[in-house]
Symmetry: C2
Subunit: 299 residues, 2 copies
């Protein structure tokens, strides 16, 4: 990354993550001009008023001519939209334009890049900042979203070392801790620790909402609120993740359904000891995780 | 409740809820002396230093002689311990001593009270404050825990009106909003909005901990943290709840397992539209709930 940072950045999808990336780079003085491309004109205008982007286009506009002199293009849409975006940008990229993404799945995004990016493939750096919020849209963007968070980069054999170094430096300037991780391993791990809990939270709220009268939810408290927070996440983004990572996700879901079958059997026979052992194991595992997390300064 | 409040209060189980009840009544100037009975001497000493109790006994001590001149006895142990506590206190209660509890299940506690309390049954007011934390023990107690929270009272046919009025007034002085709810309906509702999410969170963490290497959890973030918060709850308390309310809980669990089977089928056939519909329905239901909750001043 040049000392002065990124000269011109184009963000495709100016939502929570794309917007926060722009704000964090601006906070660091590590970006010159930011151009945003998005779906909704009012949302883009809001992003401009919030100082997230300097100029903006809706996807229907002619914006690909912006790419020739762009230093970095960030794909920050739901992953299902990335194949067609790769195809759209490929012929318009400058000879030195780098491309990166923030998709929650990596193998599908890499496959799409291989298919569509052509000669620009070495300048594509697959990425995923492990940070987020159940809030979505540019209005939820924050310059501090990535502070202390892990940012996964999953370079492939073709990836140019200098491109990787520049994208990595950008994320460091955004406050993130970069870790390199193979795309397949990323997708397998995230299926368990992120994609599955989102799915379970959505399914839980849908199930409860169908089964109970509204006034039953009057008795739901802070435990319910936190357990279901993920069910307020961006539906389209998570639809795409579930479809893209379906094999790994179904493996995790199958393991969880087996666990629930065991738990149901414990309850059915009133096996208090078995339940206690399970609950103590879970609590200990979570407390260990919290302690490790705290020791590395994350919250 | 007398104008000056409760003269002498005995708390059986000086943990998060029992301790918070004492602190909240003290904050309101609504209690004279508080005597605590608990399992662990160091924990009781801590409760005394924190100003939660004025005097204390471990369960092995001779403490039942304290009950003759006590105005109110609060059972705040895991529900599995309540039958033997009812049996222990019944012969020692004063003629005007009221009894109440904070158990997360009501039908089992009422059945135990019917079996053991004898002539004192009309002076027993079954209760459940819908407030808590994944933290447990007297050290986690707080005078503000019940502020703005719903407190369910589930009187039975035998319950004395004056006893109900006094216990209700105590909870109001603690900051709670009292609602009367039939015990069976309480247990059915709470099975869905509280007991099931606790069970699911425990099962999720146990499942993940078994399947993944420790370093996989390095990629777990704030979503994981909030989704699993309930898995840090008191294992013994929740073991008792699951056993006590097993029929209603198994009904809720079965419905959820059916929902997961449907979700798995959607993913298996890559049905993005079906997933999107489900996720949007869940998000809308949760946002509605949050809005209603906010409109009633709860957080």
């Amino acid at each position: 990354m040049p000392e002065r940072g990124i000269g011109k950045l184009v963000i495709l999808g100016v939502g929570l993550i794309g917007g926060s990336f722009a704000l964090a780079l601006k906070r660091a003085g590590a970006v010159g001009e930011v151009v945003g491309v998005g779906r909704s004109r009012p949302s883009l205008d809001a992003a401009r008023r919030l100082g997230i982007v300097d100029r903006c286009f809706v996807f229907g506009d002619r914006w690909t001519s912006e790419l020739a002199d762009t230093d970095l293009v960030l794909l920050a849409t739901p992953v299902g939209e990335m194949p067609s975006l790769f195809s759209t940008i490929a012929p318009a990229l400058g000879a030195g334009t780098l491309v990166t993404d923030v998709g929650s799945t990596k193998q599908d995004v890499i496959a799409a890049a291989r298919e569509h990016l052509g000669g620009a493939l070495p300048r594509f750096v697959p990425g995923h900042p492990i940070a987020g919020s159940e809030r979505s849209g540019a209005g939820a963007a924050s310059a501090t979203l990535f502070d202390g968070r892990t940012v996964v980069l999953s370079p492939i054999g073709a990836t140019d070392e200098a491109a990787l170094a520049t994208v990595s430096a950008c994320w460091s300037r955004c406050g993130g801790h970069v870790r390199l991780l193979d795309a397949g391993r990323h997708d397998a791990i995230l299926a368990g620790v992120s994609h599955l809990p989102h799915l379970l939270a959505y399914a839980f709220v849908a199930c409860i909402a169908e089964r109970t009268h509204e006034d039953a939810l009057d008795y739901a408290a802070t435990g319910f609120r936190d357990f279901t927070r993920l069910a307020s996440s961006h539906p389209g983004m998570w639809r795409d993740v579930c479809v893209a990572n379906r094999e790994a996700l179904r493996r995790e879901l199958a393991a969880y359904r087996d666990e629930l079958a065991r738990v149901d059997a414990l309850i059915a026979r009133g096996d208090g000891e078995g339940l206690l052992t399970l609950f103590e194991k879970a609590r200990a595992a979570r407390e260990d995780w919290l302690a490790r997390r705290e020791s590395t300064g994350r919250s």
